[in-house]
């Protein structure tokens, strides 16, 4: 009884109240740390997104100039033979565009300097633009049509404000005359920023205004396809074997450490491996998205195995016992219960792995996928690049136009990421079942 009163006093006395208040303060502090941690991470994320968006949004717009182009027969097809494909292919389309531009701006065609200055307003890619029009519809030859032609990256930069008009003209990439021309075109409504479909469709190019993510998107798609088709089944099967069958002991430990360690191997080393095995040993072609996919498969495999194992381990033993107790075989147990129940976890792991693979550059360097590829690949065996590769290459390009494209491509990649993440969260919630 005595110590009872003692304890009562110790809970209600002045001293105790003070102690208690201290504990509650600690409690509030602790909670505040948690909120601060989340806010810190989210603030960083916003900061990061903000800095990317502010740089990158303009990449989705591209300046074009509307010119009445005369598709003159003499330039395109002087022989008059409509079957002379090579002739049509090699015709001097730039000239068509330039002539139209000179006329529009009233450039003195005899003044070489002025001509060159005017030429600089047009992209180097206008020839392809016009050629494609002719190849698509040869009947256009001889007619005059209004065409929106790509402006050069400097003109584009001026319109977007990344070339400062205040810079002294000797240092500015656009001369005063060029600026005046541009202003004139803009005032006429013949020059404006339009949505940049080329960013999504074009292949690699040395000039920013014609450079696009087309090849990279296809390459990334092929690689992700390979990873999904290989890494996911392989990873899940391996995890199943290790969790359900492999005898526990030294060997299992070795494999576990080994897989954990693979997760720590720098990704470029996987590139070295891919070079040695897939290209040098199996003779697969360089720069092919299949090889890229295989390397990324090996790289993501540990992540998928580790997470899948954790998910499988989380299936309650009572369910296993129940199934075995009514005479299910091991495979039936796995197929009927373990896999369905661990599906959400497997999905999480898969997505984390895919996301990591989607953003990886270094291993692709070794197998030749950090490359300049103009042509669309039609199979996974043809040369291709990937989104992060394109970001990496654009990031190291000298032209100003690539700065915004780098950020723009990052936005595209992030969009991919967010779509994949939401898909994962959606699937996770769908398959999550309580037991």
């Amino acid at each position: 009884m005595t110590d009872q009163t003692a304890s009562l006093a110790s809970f209600t006395g002045e001293e105790a109240q003070k102690k208690l208040r201290k504990r509650h303060r600690a409690e509030r502090r602790f909670r505040a740390y948690g909120i601060a941690a989340i806010l810190f991470a989210l603030a960083f994320l916003c900061f990061l997104f903000g800095s990317i968006f502010s740089q990158g949004w303009s990449a989705f717009l591209q300046t074009s100039i509307k010119l009445p182009v005369q598709f003159s027969q003499e330039v395109i097809n002087p022989s008059g033979n409509p079957d002379a494909e090579d002739e049509i292919f090699r015709a001097n389309y730039v000239k068509l565009a330039r002539v139209a531009l000179y006329k529009e701006l009233g450039v003195d065609a005899d003044n070489r300097k002025e001509r060159r200055a005017a030429n600089d307003l047009l992209s180097r890619g206008v020839d392809v633009q016009l050629r494609d029009m002719v190849l698509r519809d040869p009947s256009i030859i001889g007619k005059t049509e209004d065409v929106w032609l790509l402006a050069s990256d400097n003109a584009d930069a001026l319109l977007k404000g990344s070339i400062d008009r205040e810079t002294p003209s000797d240092r500015r990439a656009m001369s005063d005359q060029q600026v005046a021309w541009i202003d004139q075109l803009v005032d006429n409504g013949d020059m404006k920023k339009r949505f940049n479909t080329g960013l999504f469709l074009n292949g690699a190019s040395s000039s920013p205004e014609t450079a696009g993510l087309g090849v990279a998107l296809i390459g990334s798609f092929f690689m992700m396809l390979t990873v999904v088709l290989l890494a996911v089944p392989l990873g899940v099967c391996a995890a199943l074997y290790l969790e359900e069958y492999a005898p526990k002991g030294k060997i299992a430990d070795t494999i576990e450490v080994n897989i954990n360690n693979l997760a720590a191997v720098p990704s470029i080393v996987f590139g070295l491996l891919g070079l040695a095995v897939f290209i040098n040993f199996f003779g697969l072609p360089r720069s092919a998205s299949l090889v890229g996919g295989l390397v990324l498969t090996l790289m993501t495999l540990p992540t998928i195995i580790i997470t899948t194992r954790a998910a499988i381990r989380a299936v309650p033993p009572s369910i296993r016992e129940a199934a075995l107790g009514v005479g299910a075989s091991k495979m039936q147990l796995i197929g009927h219960h373990v896999l369905p129940l661990s599906l959400p976890g497997i999905l999480t792991g898969t997505i984390i792995g895919l996301v990591q693979a989607l953003g990886e550059t270094a291993p692709l360097l070794m197998i030749g996928m950090v490359a300049f590829v103009v042509e669309y690949p039609t199979t996974p065996l043809e040369p291709a690049t990937g989104l992060p590769v394109q970001i990496y290459m654009w990031a190291s390009s000298a032209e100003r136009g690539f700065v915004e494209r780098t950020a723009g491509a990052t936005m595209v990649l992030l969009a991919f990421l967010i779509v994949m993440n939401s898909l994962a969260v959606y699937l996770r919630n769908r398959f999550e079942r309580k037991w």
Binding site: Y241, N261, A264, P266, S267, S329, L417
Partner: protein
């Protein structure tokens, strides 16, 4: 018939065999399914795998062997001077033969005739080249007569193989089917057989990870040995100066001290973990213990995005935004922070690996049984006391695993370090100065302007192997720690 077609037909046969197997098993037990050892489906699987698997193995083996075999046959036509040449010469000659053989089946009979004549010397081989050129076979020079002969041989060998392959495959499939069919009887342990086939499949899948390790070690080992022929292991492992210089300066003139790089790796990773572990852990605690399920469902995937952003983006962010910010901050409080420093790289990298700690720890903390929480609350503990004294200790093994994964990621990171901490290999204790890491040097020595079989480039492989061994040791140690705690607490 292309390999894909054969494969498709085989799969069709497999499905067919599956149904036959099922039917047969029901037939042999006279409808009394209880007398069957295994369910009819298993008999189906059994028959299907007997039909398909051997044929697929044959198909694969054929695929591997066909090219070398046909090429070997064709090469015999090339004549002695080529056959006596080096492998490289043979390979080159054969690539011409290959491309001609590719074109041969597309020729018209008249064109074929031209080629035949060319081979016998009645017309010039440049006629043959023209003919082939019309079918898109681009040849660098006029092919020799024996080259045409070899190509002919190659084409016919290929044609034979194309005919033989499906025959052989289907014959094997039929044999397997017949044998399996004859063995179906009530006592057949079809389930056990099927399960062991599947089990072997799973086993094969699990060997991939091990093979990857073997592959990695092998693909860096020889170059590493090569490297140590230039530089003594002592200088490498205990050298305190990293200054590889150019190969032109002199053979092994450069200094290849590992220690500054190792120190840089550990230093930056430590700073990154100093950021990621508290932030990640507190975030995890908040999400799992305090926040409502809505906040959690929202915050968790949002944080996970941090891990998926390409590191080059982080790198440029650190270089152009965060580094200067930090420097200005430091300037205001009288600290001289280089724009690229351990601190910049560490913090940005730490942010990148936050989700590894937060998401995995969140799962683990959630898995701590509610009974422990109630036990603690029941004694009058506040929530934070419960978390600190009961939940975190109980979740420790799992959290160690999460931190380890985060550390792995930090150690293996390149782009952030290059851009945010620079590439100078310093042995410094000051976090405001730049250092660099092993992975950075692996990449830069591999991609440089340096001579490729000099120690300057080869050191990349040695670094790769070193890092591999270090992380391996780290993982073994972590497993040991986790085991130790598990034994104590479970």
């Amino acid at each position: 018939m292309s390999t894909l077609t054969i494969l498709a037909i085989l799969i069709g046969l497999g499905i067919f065999a599956y149904f036959i197997g099922r039917m047969r098993s029901i037939q042999v037990c006279g409808g009394e399914q209880r007398t069957l050892h295994s369910r009819p489906t298993y008999h189906g699987y059994y028959l299907a795998s007997l039909t398909v698997l051997p044929a697929i193995i044959l198909l694969a083996a054929w695929g591997v062997a066909e090219r070398p075999a046909t090429r070997y046959i064709a090469m015999q036509e090339l004549g002695p001077q080529v056959l006596k040449g080096t492998d490289a010469e043979k390979a080159l000659a054969m690539s011409v033969v290959d491309s001609i053989a590719d074109g041969l089946p597309e020729l018209t009979p008249e064109e074929d005739e031209v080629l035949r004549k060319a081979r016998l010397g009645f017309v010039t081989t440049s006629d043959a080249r023209d003919v082939l050129g019309r079918h898109g076979v681009v040849l660098g020079s006029d092919p020799g007569r024996n080259v045409i002969a070899a190509a002919d041989e190659l084409a016919s060998a290929r044609a034979t193989s194309r005919i033989m392959l499906p025959i052989a495959c289907f014959a094997i499939a039929a044999l397997g089917f017949a044998w399996g069919y004859s063995r179906i009887r009530p006592g057949l342990r079809a389930r056990n057989i099927t399960e062991s086939v599947m089990r072997s499949g799973l086993f094969l899948a699990s060997t991939v990870a091990v093979l990857t390790t073997v592959g990695i070690v092998l693909s860096v080992l020889f170059e590493t040995i090569h490297f140590f022929q230039f530089v003594s292991p002592f200088d490498y492992f205990f050298g305190t100066v990293w200054d590889p210089r150019f190969a032109t300066v002199g053979k092994a003139e450069g200094q290849f001290g590992l220690l500054p790089l190792l120190w840089g790796t550990l230093f930056i990773s430590a700073v990154a973990l100093l950021v990621a572990v508290p932030v990640g852990l507190f975030a995890a605690i908040y999400m799992s213990e305090y926040a409502g399920s809505k906040v959690r469902a929202f915050a968790k995937p949002l944080l996970e995005i941090l891990a998926g952003i390409p590191t080059i983006v982080y790198g440029f962010f650190a270089l152009t935004v965060f580094g200067p910010l930090l420097r200005d901050l430091g300037f205001n409080i009288g600290l001289d922070i280089s724009a690229s420093s351990v601190l910049t790289a560490g913090i940005v990298m730490g942010v990148m690996i936050i989700p590894f700690v937060s998401s995995l720890s969140d799962d683990i903390i959630n898995a701590v049984p509610q009974s422990l929480r109630e036990g603690s609350y029941g004694l009058g503990a506040t929530q934070s006391e419960t978390i600190k004294k009961v939940i975190l200790p109980a979740a420790l093994p799992g959290i160690v695993g999460a931190v380890l994964l985060a550390a792995s990621r930090a150690i293996g990171e390149t782009m952030i370090v290059v851009l945010a901490a620079g590439i100078a290999a310093n042995l410094t204790l000051n976090p405001l100065e730049p250092v660099t890491t092993i992975t950075v040097k692996i990449v830069s020595q591999l991609t440089g302007d340096l001579e490729f079989n000099s120690p300057q480039t080869l050191v990349a492989f040695a670094l790769g192997l070193t890092l591999f061994v270090i992380t391996l040791a780290l993982n073994v140690y972590a497993l040991y720690i986790v085991r130790k705690y598990r034994e104590q607490y479970e």
